[in-house]
């Protein structure tokens, strides 16, 4: 049976922009539904540095973006303080880097109105001992780190509290149009294959790199360049500040600390398709080698995860480095394509997500005749109760301070109890009777500890069966898909100790449980990419 829903605004895409639009519109009193074909942060919003740009990265080649970053950086530090760590940042050049670029940097920052303070090399190395002794120049800037998962979880949770519906695992398959308007949108549930139809006054396409594909379903054109970037997470924190390489943007030139880890990246690789976005060994080796120029310790550091995202860049298919393409965003009113109630927002970057959401919501409101002003500049995003399990360190603190006598730790690495799992499952939407391990993983720390899901996936799957959240043979594909998701981030980093853990994991999940023999249509064998 097909379900039918109605709303004022339908937002497609559960990344930073989509959830930002959901919160912005909800604050203005607009009824919305947000649909996402996977789960929050499945695209670039969940696969970036977590860098709140000061703007200095863009001063030389994209001053407009630099200024947007500058303003949003300062605003978000007040509006989302719980998601941001005010680390400060450095731009450093090493021997051999372009002297002219170094000489021009301060002037570029000044002309964009960015804070930039030259530092003595010795002072910089004293502040950040991991820096190479081959540093020849250093500048302090206002970079900060932002937790993109917390940011997006807080946005959508706040929107939900204001009445927005968030439906995961729903993929748009068709737009029904009549008289230059989209009357309804057909969607399909990823697991149950259930069909859903949603009628909305206006539809926002906030699907990032997928914006072209979604727009095409409505017969509208969005031209994007797909630029793949790969990043590595170190086992421990390397520096206190964000460290940028003082040169035109290149591979592995930004290191961003966040909590107890650091993230080094990225690469930039033009992709023709969005089908297989996973890190490669060559990218990992390149990042390690380049990163080590600024911080030699990166050569021998232990890495815990590699991941890749796709930057949706605007514009035609120009040649050259995709990093020279504008990092600005594009807000498209598809009235230009003869569709009156369809808007696409894409491009941009995490730092400017709020601004993108504001501009989009302004357009939505003007169409709906809503005059309420944007409130995301005024009402801060406060940590909500519902998102606390995703915060590193919360679970152990909570467990040690108090827990019910019959509660059990299902994830022993990160100390996530079954009561937390039960609570998180309760947040899942009505179309998703089956609890998914990946969804729980987005909202807690499971799978992120040293076992990388090897053991906790089994304990949690057993618990979900006991509670009737999993039935029949769903558990086998749940465990497989969760382990495989963790695997994507591990496979390029398997040497020394991690290769031992991978062997134990395979001995258990394949040798013993024989899960590789379970039929699973969603896991086709993939060709090795080299």
């Amino acid at each position: 049976m097909k379900k039918n829903l109605k709303t004022q605004a339908l937002i497609i895409g559960g990344g930073a922009t989509g959830t930002g639009v959901a919160r912005d519109l909800s604050l203005r009193g607009v009824k919305c539904i947000l649909v996402e074909k996977n789960d929050i942060n499945a695209g670039a919003s969940g696969a970036n540095h977590g860098l709140l740009h000061s703007g200095a990265r863009y001063v030389s080649n994209d001053p407009e973006s630099a200024k947007e970053c500058r303003d949003e950086n300062r605003l978000l530090k007040h509006m989302a303080p719980d998601c941001i760590e005010e680390t400060g940042g450095l731009f450093v050049a090493v021997e051999g880097d372009n002297e002219k670029f170094i000489a021009d940097f301060q002037g570029f920052c000044d002309s964009s109105g960015l804070f930039c303070r030259p530092m003595d090399v010795a002072e910089a190395r004293a502040a950040e001992p991991a820096l190479s002794d081959k540093i020849i120049a250093a500048y302090a800037v206002e970079d900060a780190s932002v937790d993109p998962f917390k940011l997006v979880l807080e946005n959508i949770t706040d929107a939900q509290k204001l009445g927005c519906k968030f439906l995961r695992h729903l993929k748009v398959i068709a737009f029904h149009q009549k008289g230059g308007r989209i009357e309804s949108v057909d969607l399909i549930e990823k697991i149950t294959r259930e069909r859903v139809s949603i009628e909305a006054d206006i539809i926002v396409n906030a699907t990032g790199a997928w914006a072209g594909q979604v727009a095409a379903l409505a017969g509208a054109a969005i031209s994007l360049i797909y630029s793949k970037g790969t990043l590595l997470i170190t086992h421990s924190r390397i520096t206190q500040r964000v460290i940028n390489r003082l040169r035109p943007p290149g591979d592995a030139d930004i290191l961003v600390p966040g909590g107890t880890v650091s993230i080094i990246g990225t690469t930039s690789l033009r992709m023709e398709s969005l089908d297989e976005i996973t890190p490669t060994i060559a990218e990992v080796d390149r990042i390690v080698a380049e990163g080590a120029c600024m911080m030699p310790v990166l050569e021998t550091a232990r890495y815990i995860r590699a991941y890749s995202g796709v930057r949706p860049l605007l514009g035609g298919g120009g040649k050259g480095d995709d990093r020279s393409v504008t990092r600005g965003f594009d807000l498209v009113d598809h009235a230009r394509d003869g569709i009156d109630n369809f808007i696409t927002i894409t491009g941009g970057k995490l730092t400017t997500f709020r601004l993108m959401a504001e501009k989009t919501s302004d357009m939505v409101c003007s169409r709906l005749g809503v005059s309420a002003p944007c409130l995301t500049r005024r009402i801060p995003l406060i940590s909500s109760h519902e998102t606390r399990w995703a915060v590193p360190g919360f679970s152990p603190k909570s467990w040690f301070s108090a827990h019910e006598r019959d509660d059990l730790l299902l994830c022993e690495c990160e100390m996530v109890p079954q009561s937390a799992i039960e609570e998180i499952v309760g947040y899942f939407d009505i179309f998703n009777k089956q609890a998914d391990l990946k969804g729980i993983g987005k909202r807690s720390r499971i799978g992120k500890g040293s076992c990388q899901g090897n053991f906790c996936s089994l304990r949690i799957a057993a618990y979900l069966y006991d509670r009737d959240h999993l039935r029949s043979d769903q558990g086998a594909s749940e465990i497989r898909s969760f382990i495989n998701e963790r695997w994507k981030g591990q496979r390029c980093l398997l040497w020394d100790t991690p290769v031992i853990q991978a062997e134990l994991q395979e001995a258990m999940h394949c040798g013993f449980f024989s899960l590789e023999l379970c039929p699973d249509a969603s896991l086709h064998s993939q060709k090795e990419t080299k």
Binding site: L470, A476, K488, E503, F512, F513, S525, E528, T529
Partner: protein, 433 residues
């Protein structure tokens, strides 16, 4: 300073996992003219064992073809993959190795059951089934119940994680409609405790706890002919625990292994250690070989030291050595960022030419991971060979998963590979004496 004590031995087996243990069994117990052998090794991989003894279950792995008859599977494998370690053995040798090791296990009071020419389907804790060759006596009734689709009750416990009777029943119901599930409190603990299989197993060695357990299950037994429990039925006296429960409840009782480290693995390791000690075997437990040197006469000088510090505590002079230290977990091999090495003798290691070929992008890729083909290549006498195919040393052997050209996890041949190649290596050394 006291001099470092020295020991002389004919044969030294490095490794305390399945291959190391099978090597010890073959060298010390199997024949009248047993070899004077010592064993060195740190934590045994056996504690991660499910307890099943796989021989050969899946070939080719790409197609996931499951074989009923392991011997037919081995024959096909050898013809398709002549580099596989099984190809170094005759079928009768493999059979003799399995028989011999199972006899050794029986003598150690850990009897196994196998259908001679047939694999058995067994239940795993996630509710899947896998093909194996021999199963501990304590699990046999489960294999039988599954095969005959007997009316069966699976029981789990409040507080025991990663073992859900409902999950197992749900997963198996399509092929086994007469399977039911039940959760009870474990005797002598409330519903509030976090339970661990080893503690539970020790607890059930006390008679009153077995009576209490039977009392808790009895009202829900219904028409069940078989009762499945997690593998917690005793550590030292598993037969007594199981038979007492069968007597109390009047049904066949069987164990389903829990996730590692599990009781069946611990049980196996402890019983085998006990058997070796009783046989007067010299073991350097929780020690590792720190360095190895080859003498002019071809014998080996091994320095044995503390597992953590590597401080040398003992010197072994040995005519022959069997490397049975497993792969990465067992430390028989080491994977660095650039290459895979054999750390003790720096033997040539067969491996994919590039790290990019070590692992597939899909963990469950049916083709398996390239890194699992890596390992030591051997000659017909189980001696690691150099690039020209000649043995590196006359009396240095290798056995078990350290060997190249096999994927024991996907082929379901781990125990058989360990047991048969250890047997082959010991036999090859014996011939040289």
């Amino acid at each position: 300073m006291t001099p470092i004590p020295k020991t002389k031995a004919r044969l030294t087996i490095i490794g305390t996992g399945m291959a190391g243990m099978a090597g010890m069994a073959a060298a010390c117990f199997a024949s009248a003219n047993h070899i004077d052998t010592v064993q060195v090794g740190v934590n045994s991989g056996m504690i991660y064992s499910s307890g099943f003894l796989d021989l050969m279950g899946v070939h080719p792995v790409e197609s996931g073809k499951v074989w009923d008859n392991p011997w037919d599977a081995i024959e096909q494998l050898i013809s398709d993959a002549p580099n596989h370690p099984y190809a170094r053995l005759s079928r009768s040798d493999i059979r003799a190795a399995m028989d011999q090791f199972m006899a050794f296990l029986s003598a150690a009071e850990r009897p196994y059951v196998a259908d001679k020419n047939q694999n058995t389907e067994v239940i795993t804790p996630v509710g899947t089934v896998k093909p194996t060759y021999a199963v501990p006596r304590s699990m046999w009734a489960g294999a039988k119940a599954l095969k005959e689709k007997q009316s069966c009750l699976i029981v789990d416990f409040w507080g025991l994680k990663a073992f859900s009777a409902k999950q197992i029943a749900d997963m198996l119901t399509p092929r086994w409609p007469a399977i039911r599930y039940l959760r009870v409190s474990f005797p002598a603990v409330g519903p509030s405790a976090d339970l661990y299989p080893e503690h539970m197993a020790r607890s059930l060695e006390i008679e009153s706890n077995r009576i209490a357990l039977a009392d808790a299950i009895r009202p829900d037994l219904g028409d069940a002919m078989a009762l499945g429990l997690p593998a917690i039925l005793g550590i030292y006296k598993p037969r007594e625990v199981r038979e007492h429960l069968e007597e109390l409840l009047g049904v066949a009782v069987f164990e389903i292994p829990t996730i590692p480290p599990s009781v069946p693995g611990t049980r196996l390791k402890e019983a085998l250690d006990k058997r070796l000690v009783a046989g007067g075997i010299r073991m350097f437990a929780q020690k590792r070989v720190v360095t190895a040197e080859v003498q002019k006469n071809g014998s080996f000088v091994l320095s044995v030291g503390d597992r953590a510090t590597g401080d040398v505590e003992h010197i072994i002079e040995s005519d022959g050595v069997i490397l049975a230290g497993g792969r990465f977990l067992g430390m028989g091999l080491h994977a660095g960022r650039k290459a895979i090495r054999e750390p003790l003798f720096d033997l040539p290691v067969f491996q994919p030419p590039d790290r990019a070929l070590w692992h597939q992008t899909n963990f469950f890729d049916p083709r398996g991971h390239g890194i699992n083909q890596a390992g030591l290549e051997i000659d017909a006498l189980f001696r690691p060979t150099d690039l020209a195919g000649r043995p590196v040393y006359d009396t240095l052997f290798a056995a078990g998963s350290i060997l190249a050209h096999q994927d024991w996890m996907r082929q379901k041949c781990g125990a058989g590979l360990a047991i048969a190649t250890a047997y082959g290596a010991v036999k090859a050394f014996q011939k040289m004496l």
